[in-house]
Structure formats: C-alpha cells, structure tokens
Amino acid sequence: MSQPTIEGFGATPLDIRNRRNQKAIRLAFGAMTIMLIVPVVIILALLIARGYPALSWDFFTTHPVDNMTKGGILPALVGTLWLVGVALIASVPLGVAAAIYLSEYASDNFLTRLINLAIINLAGVPSIVHALFGLGAFVLFFEFGTSILAASLTLAVMTLPVVIVSTRETLQAVPQSFRLACWSLGATRWQTIRKVVLPNSISGILTGVILEVSRTVGETAPIMFTGAVFFTPHLPVGVLDQTMAMSLHLYSVSTQVTDVPEALPYGVALSLIGMVIVLNSASIAFRMHLRRTKKW
C-alpha cells in the first residue's frame, strides 16, 4: 500500500505508528476469540476420533449387556425421547401463553418486571436445585414417584424460560401495523392473536422449541432423582415408568461402571453431543432462513 504523497497530506510517523498499533490490537483481540474456540474444537475432534469406532447400527438398536460394559444404548435413547416429548407437552403451551401475555397484554408495570425477574431466575437457579424441587414437588408431594412424568415436569420447569424468551422475541417482531389493521376491522384481541400474530410467528416459535429440545436432551442433574435410573432392562411404556436417559447413561458409564471398554463412553458422549449440535444447528439454520425470507 503506497501512502498518499501530496505535500502536507502524507502519513506522519505518528500516523504510521498508530496504524501499526491498531493492527496489533485487532490481532490481539482476534487471538483471544480464537483461543476461546480452538481448544473446544480440538476436544470435539478428539471425542469424534475416539467415539466413532463405537458407533454402529447395533449400538443404537440394542440393549446394554454384561453390567453395561457391552451392547448398545437403545433404552437410553428411547428414554430421552420420552422425557423430551412429555416435557414439551407441558412446557410449550405454558411458555407460549406466558410469551403471549408479555408481548400482547402486559404493560410496563411492576407485575411485568416481577415476571421478567422470575423468568431470569428460573433460568439461573442451579440445575441441582431444580432436582430438589422436582423430588419434593412431583415425586413426593404429587406422588408421581420416580417416573418419566416427574422427571419431564422438572425438565419442563427448568427449560420454560427458553420457550418464553424466544417466543416473546418472535411475537414482538410482528409489526404493530398488522395488529392495528386487524383491530380496526373490529377483531377482538384474541382474534388478532390467533389469526394474525401467531400465524406470522409460528416458525419463530418452532425455532425456540428446537432450542429447548436441545437443552432438555443434555440435562442430567434434574432427572437423576426424579425419574431417570442407572439401568432398567425394559423400555418405558407409560409416563409412570422409570427410564434410562442418554445424559445419565454417559455419567454412569464414565464414573459408575467398572471395566468399560474405552470406546463405549466416548460413543455415548459423541451420540449425545451429536444430538445437541444437530438440534442447535437446525435451530440456527431455521432462524437464518426466516430472517432471509421475512416479508417485513
């Protein structure tokens, strides 16, 4: 790069030094960002390299055998699907209702501030405290016992903020003019929400739900004492059954079971992280697609 040469407008030594400093500073911050990402990428590469040999069709379709030192992860996989499914049934309607209230009804008053504080705290309370709550409330007080129902409800409470926050953002992105147009035709508030606001934000809500699924899949502590068990030979058939789960299975095979072949826990970890990354990527891709095709 040649410097401007017109007399009096050339780069002074100070300019040149400043420019060099700028470059160094930019580089330093870039390096910090890279150093945050690279170790994790290396770790993930290691997980893939060590876990890949364990993966096979049989791994996903057979039961664990010989004290969980051999065999597959079918019951954990099925159990996780049960837990996520039941948790969604409980949390999505509640979360969407809460988001509709915050976006369409609430004014900026004390109650709204209180609700927002409660949401932040629901998300911030340690997962093990959610586990204590699930044990005290769902397992013992409501007498669901250690069951899929109790574990799923605990997970639903814990991941509720994810649905609320993402749905609220989607609803608030619907232009106010849409609502005004609908109201001016004489529609009630609820008619406006059902016919205009929700149809225009349904895909955004779905993005948040996928994100919630991803969170639910990985949670371990909240289900340890509420419904997930170390080992059960049967697949669950109803919501009052106990079940195995992917996340707890990873904890079990890596800390509780002895004489596990090296590849097995890596295989479980890789499957779990694969599910989470795929779900999150789907959510991100979906969101970017929406942003690109948005009509307003």
Binding site: I25, I115, L117, A118, V125, S254
Partner: protein, 312 residues
C-alpha cells in the same frame, strides 16, 4: 363495551357471533394471564418446596457455627452426622474463582472483537460457533474433564491426580465463556453507534474509541455478564462433580481435589433416607444455592436496567 352497544342494534345473528368472540376474548385473557404469571408461581414453588424440607432443619437443628465454620463434612457418622460445609463452600469458591479468572478476560476480549472489529461473514460465523459451544451439555464437559483433561494435567504437571481445582476451573471457564461472551457482546452492541461516530470524528483511533467511549458506556452490562458467569459457575453441577475429584478438602493449591456444594447434593441425595438429618441438610444446601443465585441474578438485572446492555 361501546362496541357491543352499537352491535346490539343490528341483526341477531351478527350479535351472537360478536358475543361469542367477546366471550372467547375474555377466556383467552384469563388463560394467557395465568400463563403469564406461571413463572412467578413456579419460582415461588421452587423456594417453598426446597425450604419446606431444608428451612426447619437450618433454623432449629443445624449447628450454624459448625455449618459455616467447620470443614468436616461427615454426614453419615453415628450417632449424629457432622455438617461442616466450609470445605464445600471453599471448593465451590475456588473452582468458580479460577474459572472466572480464565473466562472473564477471554470472553471480554472475544466480545470486543466480535462487536467492534469483526464484520459481515466473520462475525456471523463467530457468533454461530459461540452459540454452538454454549450448547454442549454439562455432563459432556464433565466427561471431557474426566477423560481428556485429567491425563493431560497429570502428564504436564507431573502430579498424581488430575481431577483438581485446575481441571474443574478450566472446564467451567470454557463452559461459562460462550455465555458471558454473548451477554457482553449484547452490552457492547447496545452502545449507540453515534457515540462511536462522534469519537471517530474527533480523530480517535478504533482502540481509543473502544477504551474511552464504548467500554465505559457498556460498563454495567459487562459487569452483569461477569456476574451471570459467576452464577453459572456457582450452580454448575455435573461438570464440577466429575472434574473436581469430589474430595472434601480445604484447597491450598490448584492441584488439590475439592468438592462443590452442588456436587455434594448430586452425589449424596440418592443414598439418603427421606426425612433424615442428612436428607434435610442437603435441602439446606439447596436453599443456600437458591438464595445466592437469586441475589446474583437480581444484581445483574438491576445493573442491566440501569443501562448498558439488554438481556436475552
């Protein structure tokens, strides 16, 4: 109401339909309001159910001096357990402290880079990567500490055990950093572009703009980001349980194994008889965790409200 009065003059069929719509509107309002306050109901319920088991014990049966002053956690000794939680608190504090020492500077640096330097595609890709990192489940982080970091620490520092404060702190730092980066970046983004333009118009370099305009304006949001990181580290369970060595011990160096408050509940709750002192003291630890994270979240919220960033 006025709308109804007008409608009542027109034909019967139309009036009925309006009435139905009006009734549905009322019903929806009630149902949605119930959903709206559900978060408050749930957070109160969490406190009530945890306090129900733990508060009575904390107030009447627990030796407070021992709880806060003794490092001896022997909940199963006969005839009465010893419930000194000092070593557990020190364990949590040391791991969280080390994690923040690592995560705070790096996430602040990354947030500055993404918000102030990176543009277009680079920024998009970095943001997506950070979001994906934040999604890795804590049990997988624990597994990484157990299987990858553990032998690495043993080899590098020539120590007998690798499941230590250092291990758990590193894991927790890597876990907390993406979240802190995201929140800090939000805070930096919330500084109006006109501030930067004004400073640049006066001849300030990019670094001068960041240091003297952007960072001071975003101060509250950045402190909130750090606080939320602390809250996250404080409450983390599975990763700390698996990576810290889980030994009741007052840490004196990063190479000591420790045990955290959260991990203690996770490891012992399954073995206790419901209603026993041991069972109830674990709920008391739960109250402590609840209150501390509540205060941290409240402080962060107040800071953000005072200006300098938005929360997601």
């Amino acid at each position: 109401m006025k709308e109804r009065a007008l409608q009542s003059e027109s034909s019967g069929g139309l009036e009925d339909r309006i009435d139905a719509a009006w009734i549905w509107d009322r019903i929806a309002r009630v149902v949605i309001f119930a959903g709206g306050v559900s978060a408050i109901v749930l957070i109160v319920a969490i406190f009530v159910f945890v306090a129900n088991e733990g508060l009575g014990f904390a107030l009447f049966d627990l030796d407070k001096g021992q709880f806060f002053g003794s490092p001896n956690w022997r909940p199963t000794t006969e005839p009465e357990g010893e419930f000194g939680a000092l070593a557990l608190m020190a364990g949590t504090a040391s791991v969280t402290g080390l994690a923040m020492l690592i995560a705070v500077p790096f996430s602040l640096g990354a947030a500055i880079y993404i918000s102030e330097f990176a543009t277009g595609r680079t920024r998009e890709i970095l943001k997506i990567l950070i979001e994906l990192l934040a999604a890795i489940p804590s049990v997988v982080w624990g597994f990484i500490g157990l299987t990858i970091l553990n032998p690495l620490i043993i080899d590098m520092f020539n120590v007998p055990v690798g499941l230590t404060v250092l291990n758990a702190g590193l894991i927790l730092g890597l876990m907390a950093a993406p979240i802190m980066t995201t929140i800090a970046e939000d805070a930096l983004k919330a500084v109006p572009e006109s501030y930067r333009e004004a400073a640049e118009a006066m001849g300030a370099s990019r670094w001068q703009v960041i240091r003297q305009v952007v960072l001071p304006s975003a101060k509250n949001g950045l402190v909130a980001a750090a606080l939320l990181g602390v809250g996250r580290g404080f409450g983390e369970t599975m990763a700390v349980l698996m990576a810290s060595g889980h030994a009741v011990h007052m840490p004196t160096s990063p190479f000591d194994s420790v045990r955290a408050l959260t991990a203690t509940i996770a490891a012992e709750l399954g073995e206790t008889a419901q209603g026993s002192d041991h069972y109830r003291v674990l709920f008391t630890l739960g109250i402590l965790l609840f209150l501390v994270t509540f205060v941290i979240n409240l402080l962060a919220d107040i800071l953000v409200r005072k200006g300098g960033g938005k929360r997601s």
